[in-house]
Symmetry: C2
Subunit: 170 residues, 2 copies
């Protein structure tokens, strides 16, 4: 898991983009994730073989990410969501990120521009739990400053449906 890091753009070269048909299939899957290939083909007016081949390509081609993306952290007992920006003092080696990624409550970790160098998305059981986790973060080698922002409301949880809809065409 520690070497899951990847530059945002390097993928583009290897990764074949999804076209309008792929987008339509993914949207149909969005409406009913457990739909069978046949059901999707019916709904979209496509041949079963087409949907089957497309889906296989999407899964094998890396356009689809891991399934745990769909699991709601609340359901695991972590109703609190926070964003922690951190500044790194020294040249950041593997050690810093490894230390941070060893914390299970860190569900996402990004290098960013701007005032902070690192942004961690953290889930917690409650505020006390969050305090414990931010302390853990500050103990990671090279982390000199941290700033915690609590998420009050997920107005729109992560979703690329709007992009898919645009991609799917009219």
């Amino acid at each position: 898991m520690l070497n899951a890091a990847r530059p945002c753009c390097a993928i583009l070269s290897t990764m074949r983009n999804v076209d309008a048909l792929d987008a339509r299939i993914l949207l149909a899957l969005d409406a009913d994730p457990r739909a069978t290939t046949v059901a999707l083909a019916d709904r979209l007016g496509l041949a079963r073989n087409t949907v089957q081949a497309r889906l296989k390509r999407l899964e094998e081609g890396g356009q689809l990410r891991e399934h745990s993306r769909r699991v709601a952290p609340e359901a695991l007992g972590y109703p609190l969501l926070a964003l922690v920006t951190m500044s790194i003092s020294q040249r950041v080696g593997q050690s810093t990120r490894e230390a941070i990624l060893r914390i299970p409550e860190v569900v996402e970790l990004l290098f960013t521009t701007g005032d902070g160098d690192l942004l961690a998305r953290v889930v917690a059981r409650d505020t006390e739990d969050l305090h414990r986790i931010t302390n853990l973060l500050l103990e990671a080698p090279g982390v000199v400053r941290s700033n915690t922002t609590i998420v009050l409301l997920e107005v729109q949880p992560f979703s690329v449906r709007s992009l898919l809809e645009r991609h799917a065409g009219p």
Copy 2:
């Protein structure tokens, strides 16, 4: 889609938490998202009926979110990822969030504590595209200030696998 907003905690009351067995099933699904129920049952040493019932409950109980969470925006032609924090001047009504959510490139929208009131996760085709989108955001009613941070590297893309592993027990 506009009314997908939900308080972080209200769910907990309705939502039955996933237990260790659920977590193991979800982890197995993570390893092979297209695995059949029978295959999962075999791998986990469970009865087919058990896995079938559990999965049905997870899907129907809201513990699993939409499928498009798994789609990589890069594959749709949006290699750039940015975080835009915004300050809201007036009492923010529906109009502000609706205006923002009408922008397809906004893939996530959060109300937060701290210096900004709103945080938008935005994907873009390139920096010029990002500039266009941030201007769109500033045109939304009530948005007075914005601060854009570019994501340089996704060290760890969103994943709750570590939480699942802890939940699954030893």
